[in-house]
């Protein structure tokens, strides 16, 4: 999720008029961006990951202008043929294999442009670039360096240059260790050689994906820019390059091609994709003419004629005709669709265990029990240690949020005791129950199991208080049962039992061991009942269900 802040003065300059607060608040969300905040000076929006072209003020202004119906269809950015060449050495193959590059001339770099470039670069790095792992962008002042450039991998200590922010030359390993941006070198972990871009003299322009050199630092004096994009995915690398070059073209720059390993970059001509009008109308349940489709798409910066959609080079999200249909829908306006309930046949049917569980809820409420809900995530201490029971195999998270929430519950009863602990200041007796899923490890992973746990606590509470409830419950479901004494663990001796239906254990019942009560700081006796809901359901008389 990328949240960006745009200067409204710049937006006004780029759009050609001031867009009012109300317009921003109403229209920007319908274009597909969340408005976080509008102030007199700034607009803060959340840009969805499929639209990195909106991460820069230039790109955002371009799209908003079009969406407001004030743009001109597909924006095409022409390129002129340039002479610069980037040679790609085979040594990068195993390190960071892909590079793309472009030149933009005649940009009147000022504070706004510098800031915008930096923001766009940073946001593209974190989104499309997956924190520079997939894509990293370097922007350079082309004055004073000579091509051809070389992209190659070198031993970290073999080469030295002065990185941005430093006064002296250091080698790549020193950058990793000392430079504030050195943390990005962890992307290269395990690689013996690290990538650099050098000029014809062997001077380092850039150490991607970490830092550029001071030699090509972009300042307000800069007129001609060189952009390099390196990464692990050719498509993403090319897309990022187009995002930056088109941004600069919006600022009046002329894009010049670079020959990268024999290929001419950037490739900025619009893309074409076939999208049948009937397909559009069927999915949207509309009856749009070619012209109407075009009008809708124009508002999204796309064009359309005779079954072909034209997609500008900066739109990286279109990979299927469906994506074009969505742009038709957004351009047409989600607010202009009339919601319609269709007539799809189907007979409602509920999940049987869930339905049965709900019946148990009703019975327990009839007994005056209050339902509680606890979290699934808990820890071993609560599930086992505090219950004086042996640890069981449980589902355990690799990256827990906290020590309190690192496993999935295997039992409901600890949660019930926790509720008692939280309610010691409330009136007694307390009768509560929970119906919910526990997670049990299996041969191939893990599965859910539905359980019920109920308990009573109070000064004068004993085994029969809960046994009588169990007796009614099972009798009403037509289940014969016997009680078999349970030894030790959470129950007091001779006051705990397994509930058996035939040979099958379907639950347990008993009075909680005072040792356990002490662990939970409880001072009144507790009796509890636990049932395996699926087993109870299987054992129940089906004519009663």
């Amino acid at each position: 999720m990328a949240v960006v802040t745009f200067d409204r003065r710049e937006l006004k300059e780029l759009i050609g008029r001031n867009v009012s607060d109300k317009e921003l608040e109403n229209r920007v969300p319908m274009m597909g961006c969340d408005v976080e905040n509008v102030t007199d000076d700034e607009l803060e929006v959340e840009i969805f990951p499929n639209r990195p072209d909106l991460l820069s003020v230039e790109g955002f202004a371009r799209s908003l202008k079009q969406f407001l119906g004030e743009g001109e269809g597909v924006v095409e950015y022409g390129t002129t043929e340039g002479e610069l060449e980037v040679k790609v050495d085979g040594s990068v193959e195993d390190v960071r294999p892909f590079i793309s590059a472009g030149v933009v001339r005649g940009v009147d770099v000022d504070e706004d442009i510098l800031r915008s470039l930096m923001q766009a670069q940073e946001k593209i790095h974190t989104t499309l670039g997956r924190k520079r792992r997939k894509v990293a962008i370097g922007i350079h002042d082309l004055g004073g360096v000579e091509g051809p450039f070389t992209y190659k991998a070198v031993e970290p200590e073999e080469i030295e240059f002065t990185p941005l922010g430093f006064k002296d030359k250091v080698n790549l390993l020193q950058i990793k260790e000392k430079h504030p941006k050195g943390e990005y070198a962890k992307i290269l972990e395990g690689k013996k050689r690290w990538p650099v871009i050098t000029d014809s003299e062997g001077m380092v322009l850039s150490f991607p994906p970490v830092i550029n050199g001071v030699a090509t630092e972009v300042t307000e004096e800069t007129e001609d820019l060189f952009i390099d994009v390196t990464g692990t995915d050719q498509t993403a690398v090319d897309q990022a390059l187009n995002l930056i070059t088109s941004l600069l073209a919006e600022r009046g720059g002329t894009i010049e091609t670079v020959t990268v390993d024999g290929n001419v970059k950037p490739e900025m001509s619009p893309d074409r994709i076939e999208v049948d009008r009937e397909y559009i109308n069927r999915l949207l349940n509309l009856d749009l003419s070619d012209t109407e489709v075009r009008e809708s798409l124009n508002r999204m910066g796309l064009d359309y004629s005779e079954g072909t959609a034209v997609i500008p080079c900066y739109r990286v999200d279109v990979m299927h005709p469906m994506d074009v249909v969505e742009d038709v829908a957004i351009g047409y306006g989600y607010e202009n669709f009339e919601p319609k309930i269709p007539d799809v046949p189907g007979i409602g049917s509920s999940d049987e265990p869930e339905e049965f569980a709900d019946r148990l809820r009703d019975i327990m409420m009839g007994f005056g029990f209050q339902e509680v809900i606890n979290t699934v995530l808990t820890n071993k201490e609560r599930q086992f240690t505090m219950m004086e029971e042996d640890e069981m195999d449980v589902v355990e998270t690799e990256n827990p949020l906290s020590e309190k929430h690192c496993i999935c519950r295997r039992k409901l009863l600890p949660g019930i005791l926790e509720v008692f602990r939280q309610n010691k200041h409330r009136s007694y007796p307390q009768r509560i129950f929970e119906v919910g899923d526990v997670v049990i490890t299996t041969e191939n992973g893990a599965d859910n199991a539905k359980r019920m746990s109920a308990a009573i606590t109070g000064r004068k509470v004993n085994y029969t208080d809960i046994a009588s409830i169990l007796d009614f419950l099972l009798e009403s479901l037509g289940i014969d049962y016997i009680l078999k004494e349970a030894e030790g663990g959470r129950f007091m001796d001779s006051r705990g039992a397994y509930v058996l239906h035939g040979d099958k254990e379907i639950g347990s019942i008993g009075e909680i061991n005072p040792e356990v009560l002490e662990n939970w700081s409880l001072e009144k006796p507790v009796v509890s009942l636990e049932l395996d809901i699926e087993k109870v359901m299987e054992s129940a008389d089906s004519s009663i269900l």
Partner: protein, 415 residues
Amino acid sequence: MYRLTDEGKRYLKNGIPEKRLVELLDREGEMELSEIDKKIEDSSIAVNWALKNRWIEIDGGKAKLKKVPSKFELQESIHAVDTEKSVSDGVVDKMVERNIVEEVREDVVKKARDQLKEGEINELTPELIKTGLWREARFKEYDIKKTGTKAYPGSRHVLSHFVRKIRRIFLEMGFEERSGPYVESSFWNFDALFQPQDHPARDMQDTFYLKNPSKTDLPEEEIVEGVKEAHEKGVGQSRGWGYKWKRDEANKAVLRTHTTSVSVKSLAEIEPPAKIFTVDKVFRNETLDYSHLPEFVQVEGIVADESMSFDNLLGYLREFYRKLGFDKVRFRPGYFPYTEMSVEPEVYFEEKDEWLEMGGSGIFRSEVTEPLGIEVPVLAWGLSLERPVMLSLGIDDIRNFYFENDLKLMKESGF
């Protein structure tokens, strides 16, 4: 002390049976026994006692009056007991034998008398009623406007109440309920939903990966291959993500981050048309605060049918929120890797004068449906449960649902 039994009270009101018989025969002359049976209650008792007293005789199945007694002593004794006049011991024994009167035990009488001595009486007691002494009592006047301490039934947890409500809404709309496990493979949670393996949502910061079990099985090879192809090269008219898809990434076990895993798994099993829903827990590695929990409930639904279009998606969503009590609903464009037309429904919340986001929805991308053998449009939504509940009840802190099981507040909520 003696008092009338239920039978005694009846005889007091209607007359003893033998008296009624004598009066009947006196009025209508001799009569068939079967006829008598039809005309008076307790006819066999009546015949029996009238014979014993020699008031009638029976001849050839007919009863004939012999004499009409000058007075019915028993009837008078019943009146005497009722008005608490004395009755001779002999008659009392007879009445006890016939279960017309019963003795009120001395201790009960004593208790009742003691209660009377207290003067103004607070409670009407069984002793006072049994002895009839309540007639002599002076009862304390109550303030009928006082309703006393509050009474609470056992009740549902508020979320459980809303889950039930939502389940009913979908069942009414003809949806089939399905469920699935919390522990799911990355395959079903992400890959089958066309989320590229380097997608940020798959990061550890957002998803709970598992130490145990760290891996789970992948489904049948045909599905795995289809999904792989969708990612790498695209299926149908799609261009795909264009990267090398890894099996090792797909079989990593996670706690499902959305119930969409249940929907997409169902898609692999069903034949359209189908309407399926799930209301269940999901897990996100989010820091706990007033609006975020590491686990919460999602309301999930899909509709797979040839005729489905975008306006139908909006139709289902609007209907759902209407049934939940939110009349004003609007739809905004959103983004999810697995839907195209992605929609974020919002409901208008009057008290805050704000539109509030309720979740995500859309039409599944064909990169999702095609590898599962589904060739029709599939509408899908994954909506928040807690959000509308918080809005309805004016709860500001989502933690109240799970971490503050305050029994007093819960009882008072009365769900």
